[in-house]
């Protein structure tokens, strides 16, 4: 800014004088404010300490928690067992198993869509 560029305006030096005067004039924090800030600091320290000292599950317990607790673990075990059965036994055995044990007979898609056979035959 040019010195006294604007008529009546303060010069750069005069403005600097005001800035310097302002440096020491801002109010200082009261004792009460310092006490409140320190109380916040201690409270946050306690929260952080509590969070870092909370016991974390380890080993099988940790795995169980990661998988969603007992419900998640039992679902995973069931799915794994079924996968093993499907992989080990040949299709014929599974078909017999479903017929005799589960009472589900082999079915084709047309069994669930009445009239589909006729349509195909007609076409």
């Amino acid at each position: 800014m040019d010195k006294r560029k604007d008529a009546g305006a303060l010069s750069e030096a005069e403005l600097d004088t005001l800035f310097r005067a302002s440096e020491g004039e801002a109010p200082l924090p009261s004792g009460d404010l310092i006490t409140r800030i320190m109380a916040d600091a201690e409270a946050e320290q306690a929260v952080a300490a509590l969070a870092s000292s909370a016991p974390r599950p380890s080993g099988l317990a940790g795995l169980r928690e990661a998988l969603g607790g007992w419900a998640g673990l039992s679902g995973l075990a069931g799915a794994a067992a079924m996968g093993l059965i499907i992989g080990v036994f040949p299709p014929e055995v599974l078909s017999t198993y479903s017929d005799t044990v589960l009472g589900i007979s082999s079915a084709t898609f047309s069994d669930y869509v009445p009239g589909l056979g006729e349509v195909q035959l007609d076409g």
């Binding site: 005069e14 403005l15 005001l18 946050e44």
Partner: protein, 192 residues
């Protein structure tokens, strides 16, 4: 660690000590930073009670971020000025500023021969003129010419370019010079 021994320790190191459970570090940081935050908030808001609330909130945010502070990324003071500026902006938007009744009063009458009275009058006049500047200009001028931050530091605090900082401070100073020029005699400045 004793307070005396912490006078040479950086803000960042103190913050790490605090995060590790050192109470003395919290005291040192509070005594070192709270006055600067308070002064900046007061100059932005023109109200002591509001400035105290902002100072407490800004320091609380510092305590909360301490465990996750990423060293070497930003200066603690820069981060704090930024938080303070945001808190002040929020308050200024809630309570539309510009009410001169809230600004510190400049004593009436002829300037006193007492240098302390003149200094007080000058500071009060400057605060009043600052409160009439657009918010961003006020923030840039206060940070540059009263808090003494560098332009790159201010750019980081305000999240703008250095050129934008220069533009804001230049316009702010020009407005201040014109507004305060009308009260030249009252402030103890005489022509000639």
């Amino acid at each position: 660690m004793a307070l005396d021994a912490m006078s040479e320790v950086s803000d960042e190191a103190l913050l790490v000590l605090y995060a590790n459970g050192d109470n003395g570090a919290a005291s040192s940081l509070t005594l070192r930073l709270a006055p600067r935050i308070m002064a900046h908030a007061y100059r932005m808001l023109g109200d002591r009670a509001e400035a105290e609330d902002v100072t407490q909130e800004a320091m609380l945010r510092l305590w909360k971020i301490a465990p996750d502070w990423r060293q070497g990324e930003a200066k603690v003071t820069t981060w704090l000025y930024r938080v303070t500026a945001n808190l002040c902006t929020d308050r200024l938007r809630k309570v539309k500023h510009g009410d001169l009744d809230d600004a510190p009063e400049v004593p009436d009458g002829a300037p006193s021969a007492d240098q302390k009275m003149i200094a007080q009058a000058r500071a009060d006049a400057l605060n009043r003129a600052l409160s009439e500047l657009p918010e961003r200009q006020r923030e840039a001028v206060v940070l540059r010419h009263i808090e003494g931050l560098t332009n790159p530091e201010i750019a980081e605090v305000m999240d703008i370019s250095v050129e934008a900082v220069e533009s804001l401070t230049a316009r702010g100073k020009r407005s201040l010079a014109q507004a305060l020029g009308k009260r030249r005699a009252e402030l103890g400045f005489y022509d000639g």
